[in-house]
């Protein structure tokens, strides 16, 4: 098979969309936080917590959608922690974010060890199965990629549309965007900046956690240490790459995932003549390159990382 032929196989695009799905959830979560003016570096740890919470709920007997809800709840909890420290207390978003990631990751690993003391190999669950949408899934290449995925992938795409609609078509979205640009003006309208930002961080963190849960409940069927493996940081790069717009961020996530799926196949094609680590490095290198290309003309939300104090200008 030629290196270019890979691009025209259905299995490649199926994999690309699958790899993109957790990134889409987490990127939308981070995008909401940043649009409200809060850089959430807790994303990596929150994804770990979501991956575990959703998986464990199902392992303990809950149904799959309850598992997703549990993951979201775990994410919301860490969002509450991060938000409380960064929004009303105005602590450094960098330091609190790293602290939240460390806390969520270590609490998750601790919980795993306490709840499953004797587990030598991680137990499996009955994960989400692909659901073929009649007719549409028979379209060549695009059919299987877009219309024969698990329900969580469909939800990811619906989420992007929903976030875009809320941001640009509702008063809530207008207020949210304004909070990230000019909080004093929003406060003057009688809207609480603190409440808006807290809400954004809590909901955004819940979405990040669902992104983590996709890994254990849809892509795989059990929980491993290190399984999030930097995906959270990549999502932060994707938010910048997408210029804080849901649609562009979606395209970025799919491009990125396609690249990731492509390097796996290229690796098989070259059969070990090139060190596999070079392939694994590419996603991270690509993220940095994308950041450099985009940052030059990026327009950050003006109040990103600036704590807001009522009555202060």
């Amino acid at each position: 098979m030629d290196a270019l032929d890979i691009l025209f196989t259905a299995s490649f695009w199926v994999a690309a969309i699958r790899i993109a799905s957790p990134l889409i959830f987490a990127t939308m979560g981070e995008l909401i936080c940043q649009r409200a003016g809060v850089l959430n570096l807790g994303i990596e740890g929150i994804m770990v917590a979501g991956a575990f919470a959703g998986w464990f709920a199902v392992y303990a007997g809950a149904d799959l959608w309850t598992g997703v809800a549990m993951a979201a709840a775990a994410g919301a909890f860490f969002g509450l922690v991060h938000g409380t420290l960064t929004v009303p207390l105005g602590l450094s978003q960098h330091v609190v974010g790293i602290g939240t990631t460390l806390l969520a990751t270590s609490l998750t690993y601790f919980a795993y060890r306490v709840l499953l003391p004797g587990a030598a190999t991680p137990p499996k669950i009955e994960a989400f199965q692909p659901f073929a949408i009649p007719l549409l899934s028979h379209i060549p290449i695009a059919g299987p990629a877009l219309f024969n995925q698990t329900p969580l992938t469909y939800l990811a795409f619906v989420l992007v549309a929903l976030v875009a609609w809320v941001l640009y078509r509702t008063p809530l979205g207008l207020a949210l965007r304004a909070v990230g640009e000019n909080p004093a003006a929003v406060e003057a309208q009688g809207i609480s900046v603190t409440a808006m930002r807290m809400g954004a961080v809590i909901i955004g963190s819940a979405l990040m956690a669902i992104g983590g849960a996709f890994l254990t409940m849809s892509a795989f069927d059990s929980f491993f240490f290190e399984m999030v493996n930097g995906r959270g940081w990549i999502c932060i790069a994707l938010v910048v790459f997408g210029s804080w717009r849901p649609g562009k961020a979606l395209i970025g996530a799919i491009l990125f995932a396609a690249f990731d799926a492509y390097q796996i196949r290229l690796q098989q094609l070259t059969g070990g003549t090139i060190p596999y680590q070079l392939f694994l490095m590419m996603p991270y290198v690509l993220s940095i390159v994308a950041l450099v290309l985009v940052s030059r003309r990026a327009s950050y939300p003006a109040a990103l990382m600036v704590p807001y104090q009522k009555g202060e200008r």
């Binding site: 009303p88 950041l291 940052s295 009522k310 202060e312």
Partner: protein, 349 residues
């Protein structure tokens, strides 16, 4: 609610809030111990004994503190200038790679020449590894948090590639590990038969030197000025980019020393598990030390004690040793809160 700066930070507050932070951390840890089905008092006693209950325990704690002093210093100097270096892990591995590249026999010379050569090279490579993200920040406005984080993954994969390629030990039975460094490249042990090595002494010297730089030189003053307010620093005519570049070189070099000292003083060779996250733990160490270089030594020993003690505890009580990471992460968050509360007053309206 709103925050009001306190006119002058009161002495009792400055002491009481950090103690409150540690108390809050202990309360959370106690809850987790209870959840795990053990007695908190018993567990904390086991941690304390494991960390400091014997000569062996104390020396183990100081051994574990050594890389944390270096990474803690690296984070402290960078954060002072608000250069958010989250890549100490990558810089640590860069220092370790240089140490095995030069120390496994490729360069033959007596210790007094070889070790300074390795140190200088390791520092240079670690420094350059942070200068890259710093330049991207200055030239293109790329957030250095994300670039330094992503570099951690890139460098670790690069090290993995080296350990399966040119740095691989042919006698390593297929394991990805480097050859052992030659005797001339090794740092001596400080106590006969124990693991504590000369790297700890270097770490102490480094913290004093960094303290001098931070408090008694114009560079230290400029770093704090840039960190406090870039606008004011620019108005005062401080060359911000040059200060940030120097900060990056200093910070990256210090983190690389952690990798050098772990290889040359302790492990003797390079493996992929050389660092169990010393770069990230360094952030907690620096915050607990309130970014004070001398405080970093105390904070590193405290944090190392928690890890060493928790390891010992989890072997005898049935509580996962991950509790050490929870304690350190919680201490980081409660400590930054305590610092804020000692400087501001919360007014509810």
């Amino acid at each position: 609610m709103r925050l009001e700066p306190k006119p002058a930070p009161s002495l009792t507050g400055t002491i009481a809030y950090p103690i409150g932070a540690i108390a809050a951390t202990l309360v959370l840890a106690s809850l987790l111990v209870l959840v795990a089905g053990a007695s908190p008092f018993n567990v904390f006693a086991l941690v304390a004994v494991g960390a400091a209950g014997s000569q062996f325990a104390v020396l183990e704690t100081l051994t574990r503190a050594t890389p944390l002093i270096f990474t803690g210093l690296a984070v402290a100097v960078a954060f002072r200038a608000k250069l958010w270096n989250i890549g100490a892990e990558a810089q640590l591995y860069a220092g370790a790679v240089v140490t095995v590249a030069l120390g496994t026999g490729a360069v033959q010379m007596p210790s007094v020449l070889l070790i300074p050569l390795i140190v200088a090279s390791a520092v240079a490579v670690g420094a350059l590894l942070l200068l890259g993200p710093a330049l991207l920040k200055m030239r293109f406005g790329v957030d250095e948090v994300v670039t330094t984080l992503l570099l951690n993954f890139i460098v670790l994969l690069f090290v993995s590639m080296l350990l399966e390629g040119i740095l691989k030990d042919p006698m390593g039975l297929g394991w990805p590990q480097s050859q052992r460094i030659i005797a001339e490249a090794q740092l001596p042990r400080l106590v006969e038969g124990m693991r504590l090595h000369f790297g700890f002494f270097i770490a102490l010297v480094a913290s004093v030197l960094v303290w001098v730089v931070m408090t008694h030189t114009s560079l230290g003053y400029e770093m704090r000025a840039v960190g406090h307010s870039p606008q004011a620093a620019r108005f005062a005519g401080i060359p911000i980019n040059r200060v940030l570049a120097k900060t990056a070189l200093l910070s990256g070099g210090l983190a690389a020393l952690a990798g050098f000292s772990e290889v040359a003083g302790l492990n003797g060779n390079l493996t992929l598990d050389l660092s169990p996250g010393f770069g990230y733990t360094g952030i907690a160490v620096a915050m607990l030390a309130l970014l004070n270089p001398l405080g970093v030594v105390a904070a590193a020993i405290f944090v190392a004690g928690i890890f060493v003690g928790a390891d010992a505890m989890s072997r005898s009580a049935d509580v996962p040793s991950y509790i050490a990471d929870v304690i350190v992460a919680t201490a980081l968050l409660t400590m930054v809160t305590a610092i804020m509360l000692s400087r501001y007053r919360i007014r509810w309206r």
